[in-house]
Every structure is written in C-alpha cells, then in structure tokens.
C-alpha cells in the first residue's frame, strides 16, 4: 500500500478499503476467525473452547459496525435504524440466531436532544422487530466540530446452530445466486438527499433487519452456502468477495436484476452503476441449484423479500483464470463487473 495518509476512498467498501484491511489490520492482528473475511467472526465459547477433549463448545458469531452516515435522517429511516439493522444483518449472515447488541454513542456537543430521542426510539423499535436486546452501551461527548452530530457503533452476538458452516468460500459451480429485493435504494436515497434531487415519489432507504428472512431461507434451503448484505460497494463488492473467497466465476444476468425505475433514473442522472450502490435492507444468498426454488419462495414470503429474484449462478474458473464476476447483457455479450475503486463521483460529461 503506497498511500501515506488515509483517504476517503479507504472507507468506500471497494478495493482501496480491502487493501487497507489486508495490509494494515490483518497484518497486525489477523487470526483464523478474522481472516475468513466474513461479515461476522465465528469462534467457540464455553466448555471445549480451548480445545479440551470431550466437550463441544458453543459457537458464537460476533460482528461490529460503526455508523457515520450524513444526513442522519433520510427518507425511510435514520442512523439509529441503520445502526441496529446493520449489525443484526451482519451477525445473521453467519447463520447465527442474533441475541444481543451493544451500542456506543459518540455525540457532538450541541446536538439536539430531541433528534437523539428520535434516533433512540428507532433503535428500540428496530431491535424489538428483530427480537434482539441492547444489553450494554457507552456514551462519549466530543467538542463541537467532532463526530458530525452523532456516530454510533453497535456490536452484536448470536449463537450458531450446530452444523451451520456458512461462508463466502463455500460457493460451488452450479449454485444459484439470489437477491432478496430491489437494488440501490439506500445509496440513492442518501445521494439524492445530498445532491438535492427530488422525486415524484421519494425513494426510501431500504434499511431493514433481515434475520427473520435469513432464518426462513435456512429452513427452506438447509444447504445454503452463504449470505451477505451488499452494503457499501453494492452487489459488485459482495459478489467479488464471494468469487475471490470461493475461487470461482460468478455470472449474473442484467435482465434479472430487480431495480426500481426511479433508482434506475437517478443512477442514470448521477452517473452511478446501480450494481455498486449501497443497500441496507437486502441480502444476497448462494444456494445449491436444487434448493433455489425453495429459497426464492421463502424470501418472497418474508417481510422485505417480496421482490426477491434469482439473478445468476456460480461457474467454474477456467484454468489459470482469476476469480471474477461477469454481467451478461440481454443480447448475449458479457462484461466484467469490478469492485468499486474509491468514491463514486457523479459524472456529467
């Protein structure tokens, strides 16, 4: 890594961030659980966790996420709802039943109390919906000028059922790729607020807790390979992560992608690729082909999954080829889909 200072692009969910993680964080404190690179770390607890013979440890899944979004209030939600959904979803992607969250606030001096109250109420409502309890927290206040209003960190813990071995490295040729609904809603809701775009019918963030949807899919498709929520960097990042972890090629069909018209229009205007726009209430799942129909039905029957679709499949890698993701166009050509490099900039000309 040649960068001598931290740049905005290091936080955007794309290749720059991956380099920072690999070369800075994993380099310093990597370990088997962390190195898996999944959204939640899975590790043993209780009797047998240190390898003592004769005991089967409980496995926990743990995840943490920090929320620094501005604006803090946007159509469809606020930073509080995001803070609960983001961590619930990350833990749930491991297949664990999410139980408990922690919550740390970094507050800027001068932040209005009634905004904070609204944020906390959203967190309470969302936690209740997800069936999790916030059991510990922390509060810090920094001088005016820091924290941009409010930053929130949440960490979550859940227990893994015996035998659940979900991982981005499990994908096999022939598997199907599913997405639980329309793409790009959250990122466009945020960008449109920032850019002052108005919509005839406002695009809302899709922030939602998806642990119940995941549980439904696991029941319908017991051999599901992995889940991931396509947040920063969008679907492109998630699929590239899976391809690299599993050493496969992934091909998706452009025609199969569910996208709202208004999101498509905003992406055209702002010059974004909807495949690289963040989602906060969507889940990607990879399932064996014989379980794809059941998985799709389970998604569509779940709250937040009504627009679920099968969008592609896993293919074997040609000899000497690198893992990659391709998009097939309606007229038979295919193009490579990369991870985002740095920040997306609206283009005009």
């Amino acid at each position: 890594m040649t960068d001598t200072t931290v740049l905005l692009g290091h936080g955007s969910g794309g290749q720059m961030m991956k380099r920072l993680i690999d070369e800075m964080f994993l380099e310093a404190f990597g370990n088997p659980a962390l190195n898996e690179g999944n959204d939640a770390g899975v590790a043993p607890l209780g009797a047998g966790a240190d390898g003592e013979a004769g005991s089967a440890p409980v496995r926990i899944a743990m995840s943490t996420d920090s929320f620094v979004v501005t604006p803090q209030f946007f159509p469809g939600g606020n930073i509080g709802r995001l803070a609960v959904c983001g961590t619930v979803n990350d833990v749930a992607t491991s297949g664990a039943r999410v139980r408990y969250l922690s919550c740390g606030f970094i507050l800027e001096e001068g932040y209005p109390m009634d905004k904070l109250r609204t944020i906390c109420q959203s967190m309470a409502d969302t936690a209740r919906e997800a069936g999790v309890a916030i059991i510990t927290g922390d509060t810090k206040v920094v001088e005016r000028g820091g924290a941009d209003g409010v930053y929130i960190n949440t960490a979550g813990v859940g227990e893994l059922p015996a035998g659940a071995e979900l991982s981005g490295s499990n994908c096999r040729p022939g598997d199907k790729v599913l997405v639980s609904g329309t793409l790009g809603d959250h990122g466009i809701a945020i960008m449109s607020q920032r850019e002052g775009l108005a919509f005839a019918a406002p695009i809302e963030s899709d922030a939602a807790p998806l642990n119940h949807l995941i549980a439904a899919v696991m029941e319908a498709a017991p051999h599901v390979r992995c889940f991931r929520d396509p947040t920063r960097g969008g679907l492109a990042s998630t699929l590239n992560e899976f391809a690299a972890a599993s050493n496969v090629e992934i091909e998706i069909s452009e025609e199969a992608l569910p996208v709202r018209d208004a999101v498509r229009g905003a992406c055209e205007m702002l010059g974004y690729d909807v495949l690289q726009v963040a989602n906060e209430g969507k889940m990607v799942a990879v399932v064996p082909p014989e379980e794809a129909d059941a998985a799709l039905a389970a998604m569509r029957a779940s709250r937040y999954g009504e627009n679920a679709a099968v969008i592609g499949e896993i293919l074997p890698l040609a000899e000497d080829a690198s893992p990659r993701v391709r998009v097939r166009t309606p007229w038979g050509s295919a193009r490579v889909l990369d991870m985002l490099v740095g920040e997306q900039l609206p283009r005009i000309c």
Partner: protein, 99 residues
C-alpha cells in the same frame, strides 16, 4: 458527448424560464432558456440543468421504422458474388434521415 436524460415537463415558469421535469420518477428543475417553445407535457432532453431539445414521439417512431428496414433480410442488396439481380423495390433507409 454528454449525458442528457429525457423527461416530461410537469410544470413551467415562463417568466423565470424554468421547468419541473420528471425523469423516470426523478423530479428536477431545469432551465428552458435554450428551448423557449417548450410546453407542459413535452418530453425534453436535460443536460447539466438545461433543457436542450424537445423529444418527439413521432421522431422516435421514425427511428424504429429505420431499425425495421435495417434488420430486414436484404442479402440481395449487398455486393455478394453469385447473387441474383436485386429486385426493383429497395427499402433504402436514407429517406428517413433527410429532413
């Protein structure tokens, strides 16, 4: 050379020469000073906050007719050895372009 997105004018402020344009559900303000004859209900191309052209449904149809001509199997038109002489009728698309 530039991104210009088509949308429908839903409101017009003639004095300020600005319009509200709905593009696939996105509502934007755009200047109409480059397209002073634009009316509410017209479809327009918007570039960098300015309407630059009124888009015509009839002209769109002209292009679709052109496409139909171009995709007709007209192998006998092209300089291929062993072909029979071309028939008298010739769906030459050039007429559509001359305006």
């Amino acid at each position: 050379m530039c991104l210009a997105v088509p949308g429908k004018i839903t409101a017009l402020d003639a004095d300020a020469a600005t319009a509200t344009v709905n593009m696939l559900g996105v509502e934007q303000r755009a200047s109409t000073c480059l397209i002073p004859t634009a009316q509410v209900g017209d479809y327009v191309l918007v570039h960098a906050g300015f309407g630059i052209q009124i888009v015509s449904a009839e002209e769109a149809e002209e292009t679709l007719k052109l496409v139909a001509d171009l995709t007709e199997l007209v192998e006998d038109e092209l300089p291929v050895a062993d072909s029979d002489p071309a028939p008298a009728s010739d769906p030459e698309p050039a007429a559509a372009g001359a305006r």
